[in-house]
Subunit: 235 residues, 2 copies
DNA sequence: CGGCTGATTGATTGTGCTCAATCAGTGTGG
DNA sequence: CCACACTGATTGAGCACAATCAATCAGCCG
């Protein structure tokens, strides 16, 4: 029961993934090093913290979360990764994975062996440049999260996450107004520095307002602009 | 009154800066593209947010802070950069600087024009690899900050910053037990998501305890291990 | 001296956490 | 098939940590 493996060239996610901005003749050089079609069931682990860093991964379908554990075992959800997004970048400098990645739902990923990728990137300057850009983007997003955690109220944090997920859905050609959250309330709270109860209360409050329709993990945003405007004012 | 310009080859910071792990014959290739010895006085700007991204910078002496402004003008201090550290990385993906960098004290920096750097990195694989590593390190540090802001108390945040500054001083061969804070209470609070008053109170409390001797910006840590242990318990 | 900025200290308030109970949904086993 | 257990989500009550508001203080410079 193997999943049909789709080359980068034919992959619908190419425009937003690693292989964007690469000329056709160089595409199959990438295609040769990428290991495709690995499938992970909900709850299964893609890589573990403290194991040797060998590869970064691109999400092909599904959703992945990464988390790290403090010495005392306290969990911190460090990111959610959707199709077309790259994870594992923070392991490069430490030469081992510094977070653990688990599937939030049944997912498939493409593995990019990092040593071979580096060898290819020196041959394809635009690929190197694009990878610099992907890493820079991750840093940039971290700055946004920094602001969210430092300056924004609990309501604003939740709304910002919803808007982010919405935008990322739209980027992949899906609805930005209606989607299903791949992660639990616990994960949301942990990621945003909030207690689960707080997240839950915010969802019920938003549901009572006109801003959002929430039912479990199903989200419906009647008007994106209204929601955007509510961010920064009171809920 | 020009400052003596020191090549990467002869720079005392080389082991911890961009040019570490580069072979001697390749060193002067880097030396040729780096623009050295730019001096910035306290309060002056190195680069502005929303200006075209051209270069990243290495701190040669002094200290730099970066900050970004929300649409409403609210400031967020996003980082402190000490000698040997690279700043400006988060601008690569946006093709413009997304933060503003100002000198906290009189500083000198080395400018690394990024286009030329990329051209060099494809010729020197170990340089490419090292730059991947530097960017990854930045992401990794952002994860640490994420945990700090999400999970740690005000006291722990301040202690963590002090320990970080201490470690970075030691890395450059300076004292990790006695140093001067280059940034104001305001900057510390802003960076750590705390009010100035809270930071001030924590310093006075730490001063009364045996953990720290604080006098204005002068810091003395009698015992690093004791301070490390206090992190995670009560203050 | 007076004015300014940065730091400190005090008093009060409020947001979001903790503790606790309940509920809904799902799967398990007798 | 239903009782039970288990997990995830929700709701409530009370509290605590850090923010806010406000005043004072120290150092510096014109």
């Amino acid at each position: 029961m193997f999943k049909r493996e789709v080359s980068c060239e034919k992959c619908s996610l190419r425009p937003i993934c690693l292989a964007s901005a690469i000329s056709p003749e160089q595409l199959d050089e990438i295609d040769r090093i990428v290991r495709r079609g690995r499938s992970i069931k909900r709850g299964e682990t893609l890589f573990h913290a403290s194991t040797p860093f060998e590869s970064v991964y691109a999400v092909r379908s599904g959703a992945i979360k990464t988390y790290s554990l403090a010495p005392d075992g306290e969990e911190l959800v460090t990111g959610f990764y959707l199709p077309g997004e790259i994870l594992g970048l923070e392991g490069i400098s430490q030469e081992e994975h510094t977070s653990t990645a688990v599937a939030l739902e049944t997912s498939t990923v493409c593995e990019i062996p990092f040593k071979r990728f580096g060898e290819l990137a020196v041959k394809i300057p635009s690929l190197q440049q694009h990878f610099f850009s992907i890493m820079s983007e991750e840093i940039y997003k971290d700055r946004t999260l920094h602001r969210l955690l430092s300056k924004r109220s609990a309501d604003e944090r939740v709304i910002a996450l919803l808007l982010s997920l919405s935008a990322r859905n739209r980027r992949r050609g899906l609805s930005g107004n209606e989607f299903r959250l791949p992660m639990s309330r616990y994960d949301i709270g942990n990621y945003l520095g909030l207690a689960v109860e707080t997240v839950s209360r915010i969802f019920t409050r938003l549901n009572k307002s006109e801003l959002l329709e929430v039912s479990g993990r199903e989200i419906k945003i009647p008007c994106l602009n209204t929601l955007r405007q509510s961010y920064g004012n009171d809920s």
